[in-house]
């Protein structure tokens, strides 16, 4: 059955419209071929005849890391590799080198012939550039450059490598960046990572990966039949790489070096210094240390295995990744909990005075001072670190009330510092004991141990520093952070990081003053005497952490100046023994560096046996000043 026809006239008009559109299309195509083949023919003929175009990636330099006054902690250095770039055609070129270039390479690179041929074979098969030798000395580079004409397809490739001019100094917090591996590439391809890119693996290099890494640029270069560059393709402008953003840390290199020196080269442990006004980390040391340069260069398999099997875990940043009993420094927390819960006043004396110990149930709990402290009020008990006082305070509080206040001080949780893989520590609660030991299978006796910071309490040295910071700031803790500013490499503008305080505690000013005085007494006339700094009021608390696996851990936390604190320090030396004699002197060095640099220099000259430090200072002196240090405001 025939349906009514479309309106012929209207359709012819439409056909005309479509025809016109198609005509425009074809004219465009012809115009395009005319442009390429008739107008620009000569230029393209030359390109095609002797030259080819190759895309080269221009790697963006990774952002640098500076301390607070612009002293360099991490930057980039060019590393040279001698590579074989297989020709871009599939005309089936021989997958071996001729005799003459082989001889040259054997001599210059000092590699056996078989190795060289193997690299060439692999390169030709995969079509990708393969290195003969990586990280070669400049001497070899210049020799290869001189002999270029005789070495077809052999090139010198420059790749940026991460460099840490101070070696092991601040190694744990900086972390390290190395060449991306296949597995990392597979998961990050969509973020634009390419083979050969650097990627942060630990520390700040890892947590600020997004800021530090730049954006690679590219350019089209014209190469001749030998694969040599003869120039740039003019039609396509190169895209310049966008360098990564620089980091300016809150870290003060002087404080850091003082802590590094204090911690020594032997032994295990960690030390942290924080500016309580901002939460900025002034120094962070972990022992044993490692040299991130080793990782930046690339580790051999055996060296890597060595690191992995090292039972002292040198890669572990003990300041945030290891937990320890806080020992007597925890008495600060117990005191605060008692005051906040209203179970004591600063003037409260406990019913049982200290006679060298305390009987609870059938057990005798000793005070560290076997001859006894007598009857004390709270400040005195804190200053003398009287265990008997705190046993009774702990019993008044109970496990969970103490745990609640410990948690309000941020214990048992990550502090939120801008470093990866922080541990949260452990605040034991009744629930925790029930789960761990079984309901009814533990006695309130654990309370006595917790109250004096022994037992199941486990915190990172950074968290222990925050215990001191609580008193220093009168309860206004700030999230600790490493990075003070992220600097735009082009404009030099920085974006400041200053976290807001979180007010956890509300105590009258007199109470804070009482606690602070007690801690000041610890340093001026008590166990923390070795942290004294002439002319500066220092408050502190020592601790000796019982360690079931060996010698006691030495703990010390302090802040200064008492009237307006600008630094809080926590030091933990594993198996160090007594906090006052081992940990306090380490803190003292940092206090000197921060508050009385002149005194410190005098002290150095006096003792004149700090060879290691002198060496480190030497490096700082010769390290090239950052090009844009004036931007950093130092």
């Amino acid at each position: 059955m025939a349906r009514p026809a479309l309106n012929r006239e209207a359709r012819n008009r439409r056909a005309l419209t479509i025809g016109a559109a198609m005509a425009v299309g074809f004219i465009t195509l012809v115009a395009g071929t005319v442009r390429l083949q008739l107008i620009k023919h000569e230029a393209y003929r030359q390109l095609a005849e002797q030259n080819r175009v190759r895309l080269e990636v221009v790697r963006a330099p990774r952002g640098r890391i500076f301390d607070r006054s612009g002293r360099l902690l991490a930057d980039n250095t060019p590393a040279f590799a001698i590579v074989f770039r297989p020709p871009d055609n599939d005309l089936g070129i021989a997958d071996s080198l001729a005799d003459a270039p082989l001889k040259i390479l054997e001599r210059v690179l000092a590699l056996p012939r078989a190795d060289l041929q193997a690299v060439v074979r692999r390169a030709v098969r995969s079509g990708a550039t393969m290195p003969f030798r990586e990280d070669v000395e400049p001497v070899i580079v210049s020799q290869i450059e001189e002999l270029r004409a005789e070495l077809p397809h052999v090139e010198v490739q420059i790749t940026p490598r991460r460099q840490y001019p101070l070696g092991t100094v601040a190694a744990h917090l900086l972390g390290y960046a190395g060449e991306i591996n296949e597995a990392e590439l597979a998961t990050r391809k969509e973020k634009g990572y390419r083979l050969g890119d650097l990627i942060g693996r630990s520390g700040l290099e890892r947590s600020y990966e997004e800021a530090l890494r730049g954006k690679d640029g590219h350019q089209y270069v014209v190469v001749n039949a030998m694969g040599r560059r003869v120039g740039q393709l003019e039609d396509v402008p190169p895209v310049a790489p966008l360098p990564g953003q620089d980091l300016r840390l809150a870290l003060d290199l002087d404080v850091q070096l003082a802590l590094e020196e204090g911690m020594g080269d032997e032994g295990h442990g960690a030390a942290v210094a924080i500016d309580p006004r901002t939460g900025g980390v002034l120094g962070m040391v972990s022992r044993p240390a490692f040299d991130p340069n080793e990782f930046a260069r690339g580790l051999s398999r055996s060296r890597w295995r060595e690191f992995m099997q090292d039972r002292s875990y040198p890669l572990l940043n003990r300041a945030i990744q290891s937990t320890y009993p806080p020992a007597s420094t925890y008495k600060i927390v117990t005191s605060l909990a008692g005051l906040q819960e209203g179970v004591i006043e600063p003037s409260t004396h406990m019913p049982v005075s200290c006679s060298g110990g305390y009987r609870y149930g059938s057990r005798w709990y000793k005070c560290w001072n076997h001859s006894g402290h007598g009857s004390l009020d709270l400040p005195a008990a804190l200053a003398w670190s009287c265990d008997v006082y705190y046993y009774q305070l702990g019993l008044r509080l109970g496990v969970d009330r103490l745990a609640t206040w410990a948690q309000k001080l941020g214990l048992g949780q990550k502090t939120g510092i801008d470093l990866p893989q922080e541990r949260s520590g452990l605040v034991p609660t009744t629930k925790w004991y029930d789960r761990r030991r079984g309901v009814g299978k533990w006695s309130n006796g654990v309370m006595l141990n917790i109250a004096i910071g022994q037992g199941e309490n486990l915190y990172t040295p950074l968290q222990i520093a925050q215990i001191g910071e609580t008193i220093a700031t009168e309860g206004a803790l700030r999230t600790p952070h490493m990075v003070q500013e992220i600097l735009d490499p082009i404009t030099g503008h920085g974006k400041a990081v200053e976290p807001a305080p979180r007010q956890a505690l509300t105590l009258p000013a007199e109470t804070w003053a009482a606690l602070s005085n007690a801690m000041e007494r610890t340093v001026s006339s008590g166990t923390g005497g070795r942290a004294q700094v002439p002319g500066v009021r220092v408050a502190g608390k020592t601790g000796t952490g019982q360690n079931p696996h060996g010698d006691d851990h030495a703990v010390f936390v302090c802040y200064a100046p008492v009237e307006k604190p600008t630094i809080v320090i926590a030091v933990l030396v594993e198996n160090g023994g007594h906090g006052g004699s081992v940990a306090a002197p380490i803190a003292q060095k940092a206090l000197l560096a921060w508050l009385a640099p002149d005194l410190r220099l005098a002290q150095q000259r006096e003792t004149a046996r700090h060879d290691s430090l002198a060496a480190v200072r030497g490096i700082v002196a010769v390290a090239p000043a950052p090009a844009d240090s004036m931007l950093l405001g130092d």
């Binding site: 479309l6 871009d88 005309l91």
Partner: protein, 411 residues
Amino acid sequence: MALPLADRRGARQIDWILIFAVLGLVTIGLLLVFSATSHPGSAHEGFHWRQLTWFGIGAVCAYAVAAVHYRNYDTLAWVAYAISIVLLVLVFFVGVEVYGAKRWLRIGGFQFQPSEIAKLATIFVLARHLDQKRLDLARARNWIAPFFIVIVPMLLVLKEPDLATSLSFFVFAVVMMFWAGMPLSTLLLALSPVISVVGFFLTRSEWPFVFVFLGLLAWTRPRMPALVALVLVNLAVGLALPHIWDGLEPYQRGRIETFLNPGADPTGAGYQVIQSQIAIGSGGPTGVGYLEGTQKGLSFLPMKHTDFIFSVLGEELGFWGTGLVLILFAIVCFRGLRIAASARNAFASLVAIGVVSVFFYHVLVNVLMTLGWAPVAGVPLPLLSYGGTSLVMNCLQIGLLLNVGVHRHEY
């Protein structure tokens, strides 16, 4: 069933010019595939024989399609459409992945692209719908059914992902709506949100489009409800887009940019375009001579016998070669348009214009790409590029055009 080619009257009705143009293109294509694949060390040696075989199959199909009266296809349209949707869904699950996209189905030792079949089936269904309903296409409510007919296979193809092929659905749908009576001004207004989105991604700015939109409104003067609806939709799109764009992660933006403009990816597609331009440009007026091309031997064009066959043509046969091929393509397109315009049967006419528009779109996008004027989209050049599904389907479509042409006086 009449076999129009068998009797003399049928033979006179055949569009011999179209046939000769197609034969010319296929011959040139075979020669170029041979040239692009036969140099020493090629991984694709002997592909010209395979291509010849495909052409044999294509020619038989074309004859069969031309011989069976199109009336019979009318009834089959929905069946073919349903099958092709099923095939497109199947691609997701059992498709073969090539260059990161799942576009192929393998049956036995034989691979084909369901999107090519879906294209033709959708043209049939849309033609049938527009023919049977004869609705006033100036009214928006009559766009709903065509919209859904086209959008389902289009989105499935887009998801493969195959942006260029999915856009071809858009192209033939728009052309067929226009052909079926939709006023050009209305068409442009209806497309304004789409133009707006594309414009945003190309220019990162909404302003050029605002002026175009206002111009369109002034030209068409739509009625008040339509005017309000259009302004609202465009405003919503315009306000939401930069917002959505800013909310995306940088790498997601990168993906979209690469998706819309693969040439922006410096390691991949941009390189091919530059090499393609060098090949075409170095050919000059007369070319470097058949089989003499130097650029094709280099591995810069991994798709030199498929998507970049025009570059090989440009280098070896020069401007005379490219000119000849473009003229042959123009002949095919304009003869096809003539057939569509002369067919008295509305269904046949709509099918013809759909087929012609897709053919033209492919030629345009492919050649623009080799000239460096369009993104690298992965569209083969019809009748020239190596590839079985594409060649057979193109022959089949030419057969359809011939069929419509033979019966053009029938209602």
